[in-house]
Amino acid sequence: MGKGFGQPKVVPTRNATQFMRAFGKCYAKAKGDKRQVEQFLQANLAKLDEHLLDALSYIFPKLLADQKFGDKQNVATLFLVFGNTVGDFPLGDRALNLELSIAAYQVALKVYPRDMFPQEWALLQNNLGNAYVDRIRGDRAESLEQAIAAYELSLQVYTRDTFPEEWAMSQNNLGNVYSNRIRGDRAENLEQAITACELSLQVRTRDTSPEEWAMSQNNLGNAYSNRIRGDRAENLDQAIMAYELSLQIYTSDTFPEEWARSQNNLSDAYCNRIRGDRAENIERAIVASELSLQIYTRDTLPEYWARSQNNLGNAYQARIRGDKAENLEKAIAAYDLSLQVYTRAAFPEDWARSQTNLSAAYGNRIRGERAENLEQALAAYELSLQVHTREAFPEAWARAENNLGTAYSNRIRGDRAQNLEQAITAYELSLQVCTRNAFPESWARSKHNLASAYCDRILGEQSDNLRTAVDLYQEAAQVFTQEAFPLSWAENQGCLAEALINQASLTDNSDDLDTAITLLKEALEVAVPGSPGFIDSQYRLGNALSRRFELNQNANDLQDALKAYKTALDAISPEHYDREKIWQALPTTQSVLGSRLVREGQWQEGLQLLLNSVRLLSEGDDQLAHANALYQTGRAHETLSDWDNARLYYRDALRLYEHLNDQPGIAQSRHGLGSVLASQGYFKKGMAELQQARDLYQQLDRQNRVREVDNLYQAAQRAEQQLSEVPA
């Protein structure tokens, strides 16, 4: 490629000329033995440098003048061969190798005009397209456009009638590049990819050209894997079918590498599959990745080995069976292995992708300190964003921004309010690229995440934030339908329900609660019992129902809430649930369920749950939840007429509420304490507590509480008078 600037005369060409001469000699001697040519490049690795790249377009006349390689066409063929060999060469600086390959093809193209050498010209265009697809330097979107242009040029010569095989090859390549295209409408690009692959399969049949047929099946699988239009579940099954067809030809004996590649792709598709049993699909993904790793070793095929490691990591990260903590450690180990080969310099894109996946695994990690894991995740996302720039890899960039948002959402260190603002910014950035039309799934995911961040948001008006969140969840629900994305659908339903429950607590609006309950019941119909989503939904359903019970006092709601809490509690086990949630959900569920049970008369079981929750919460950070549990334990003891313990726990709750300056808590604890003291016959002390509770309820404008306290106070007063009237 002649660079526009730079004077021909000042480019030193002697070394380059010598190198190409030597390469030519070696090629002539090798007589088509690719290995010998590669060995030559390996021996001359240091000569594959920027000088060679600069000089390549100037040395053609010198080589021709040598007359050692025959005529113009023969010298051009030498460049073609060099381009092919260096483009596939696994050693040295891969970015540079690809530039060398492109430059060599471009030199050769000047010699082979289309009208005189249509076949060679078309072949060169095809190869040039391949090099552009892999190109590392330059603008990636532009490179892919170049590749498409090159393939389409080659197809002008390779027509189906005249060169059916070549036509099929270029169609296949075109399909591949459309699958990855950045510009244009993504949905449309993927349709183009599918069309191209299917066209190539019209010529490549299993009987006539099994190997090529298998390759196109593999590419067709890739396109279906990413397809936006049509039914997603169906598309993924089409992808799996295509990969499995390719595996009929690619066996581990005959085509080990291709077999391994299709296994690897199959692994990816099973990982995402919607139909069938998800746990089973992921097991199949793991098996497929591990099969591919039988062929791909780090020494022989480092690049593919790294890719399979990456996919294996993905499968372990999604795994349902086995110990979750252990699976995540395996995922992290696999990503770490893939990153040994995927270095930033040689495979920037793959490096960045593995970094992104690694961050996700750190974000979910169970072992180690959570705060530290989240910092690791943030650091890895920032690294991946250095390569996945918005211009070159808009999709990956958007995905990384989305994940960055999630890491900020979960972050423990730093200022929580600020972290959530960061998260919101990141999600919004990701939505600039992930539009609904081009990347519906990612769009919906980011909308969903953005909604969650608004739910938790600290800055701004809470009611505004919740309204925004509800709207965003509803937008996400347009794509996350039960049919296409059952898992995401259920998750989104649950979160929407949670936002509605929170909204209802601000407005006392029972319509929101009704909607939330419906959403959760729908989600539970399809949830896998015992899965985290199932537990979440049961817990939320319990919350929604008990909240509605508080509003309408319908005993059925209370019964159902009890049942939901109980189901959630029974399903929680440390192995299948992430730590953070268990720490929050278990004690809170226990204290709510415990106090309900006590009031329902199952006081032994209830009290045990309450005491457990008090113990768990005393070790946690949520002091308000701890205070609430202490208060509920006091109430339970009061219900059981165990005055000594009731008093003790009310006083503990009061102390903690006072420390937290929680006025409603202080009021209810004094209310309980006053009631207990009066029941024990300490009327003066009890009445003093009740008086303070009454004043606080008055300030908080809780009129029915004020009335309750008044009644108690009067009863205590009467009892005291009666006592003083009795002669000693």
Binding site: D642, L648, D652, R655
Partner: protein, 414 residues
């Protein structure tokens, strides 16, 4: 004679120097079989009266004796049983300390079966549970040979050990058999329920409701609180009498000291509190002070008494005056701590209590709790109760709060 023999003789003569044949203070009350109890058991007249009044009834009754740890529940229970054995020989009394991991019905079954040594069915019940019985029971089985030589052999094999499948039914059957023999009924006394945690006991009581309302008299000892306060015992009327044992008052404690000393005195002397010789080797002043620091708690009284006499004997004193008593009490504080083997957190609470003086759920502040690394009084409570059990703290007699104070002993000798 070895040096150790010399030391032994010296030791004996040191105690004898105090006019005593042995140190009468013990960690736990004497056995039912021993006669010591009737000499040393002091006071509790009102409580005994209430229990014995119940025994004038024809109907079976259930009694719960409760009170703080070390208050003398076991001694009271044994005193009741020893009186019954003397006054109602036709009414067997079965005493048992609640074994770990056993339910009340099985426990009662074991206690009664032990008392019925000549009832084969009862002994079989024990044997089946792997509990040694008076007679060894063997099961006979015949095994005939299958070949033509006609031979038969009889083998004896040990019975397998199995817990009763339906302990309540087994107990009821046993009591039915007992009733034929002892028409006045059987008294089952189960001690040490307070050594289990309150919720476990509550569950046991719940499960044993049928048994408790059955054919036998029951006397149980239990926790100071919890059982008594909840629905089960108070509202469902599980017990006919719930008897709370309180700290003994000073005159009774003084009388108890006289009784203890007299039980071990070489030459029996006066037991009249007004006679200064009744508390020898204590001077009346030292005896009074000793009773004060014992806080009316029999177990603390015994523990302190043991150390004080031991110290006096080592000093080869013949009289325990205020000076000798002070030495004895100084030695008691580290001894109690050593015996308690406190955990780090218990020691932290103990040091806090010692430094702060009395604390209660009413007066403790959030900052105090923070200093102990905790957030609620209910979290310290188990530590305080542990300190109470080790006689390193005592609960104050306050019904509107839970208050604990350190036990005031003179500081240890440097």
């Amino acid at each position: 004679m070895t040096a150790a023999d010399d030391i032994f003789d010296q030791s004996t003569s040191n105690v004898q120097g105090l006019g005593l044949c042995e140190i009468p203070f013990t960690e736990s009350p004497p056995d039912l079989e021993s006669e010591t109890l009737q000499y040393i058991f002091t006071g509790r007249e009102a409580e005994l009266r209430r229990v014995f009044n119940l025994f004038q009834s024809r109907e079976r009754r259930r009694v719960l004796v409760y009170g703080r740890i070390g208050i003398g529940k076991s001694a009271f229970l044994r005193e009741v049983l020893s009186v019954l054995r003397r006054k109602r020989p036709q009414m067997p009394t079965a005493y048992i300390s609640l074994p770990a991991d056993l339910d009340l019905a099985t426990t009662a079954l074991i206690a009664v079966a032990r008392e019925m040594a000549d009832d084969e069915w009862a002994q079989r019940q024990l044997y089946q549970m792997g509990i040694p019985t008076a007679k060894i029971l063997k099961e006979r089985s015949a095994e005939a040979g299958g070949n033509l030589v006609i031979s038969g052999k009889v083998t004896e094999k040990d019975l397998p050990i199995t817990k009763p499948l339906y302990p309540t039914v087994s107990l009821d059957t046993l009591l039915e058999r007992a009733q034929e023999k002892y028409p006045q009924g059987v008294v089952i006394a189960i001690d040490d329920l307070d050594k289990r945690n309150p919720s476990a006991v509550r569950q046991m009581m719940h499960d044993a409701q049928g048994m408790l309302k059955g054919r036998a008299w029951f006397i149980l000892t239990g926790h100071p609180m919890g059982i008594t306060g909840d629905l089960l015992t108070s509202e469902r009327g599980l017990f006919d009498l719930q008897l709370k044992l309180e700290e003994l008052d000073q005159p009774t404690t003084y009388k108890m000291l006289i009784n203890y000393l007299n039980s071990a005195r070489i030459n029996k002397g006066s037991t009249d509190p007004d006679d200064p010789r009744s508390v020898l080797p204590f001077t009346p002043e030292a005896a009074k002070h000793f009773c004060e620091v014992s806080l009316g708690k029999p177990r603390l009284f015994n523990r302190l008494g043991n150390t004080v006499l031991d110290t006096a004997a080592n000093m080869q004193a013949t009289l325990i005056d205020s000076e000798v008593l002070a030495q004895g009490l100084k030695a008691a504080a580290p001894e109690l701590r050593e015996r308690a083997a406190l955990s780090v957190q218990e020691e932290r609470v103990r040091a806090f209590l010692e430094q702060r003086g009395p604390i209660s759920d009413e007066t403790i502040t959030y900052e105090d709790l923070e200093q102990l690394g905790l957030r609620s009084f209910s979290e310290i409570l188990p530590f305080l109760e542990r300190l109470e059990a080790a006689d390193l703290a005592h609960q104050l007699d306050q019904d509107d709060s839970k208050a604990f104070a350190p036990i005031a002993l003179p500081p240890a000798l440097e």
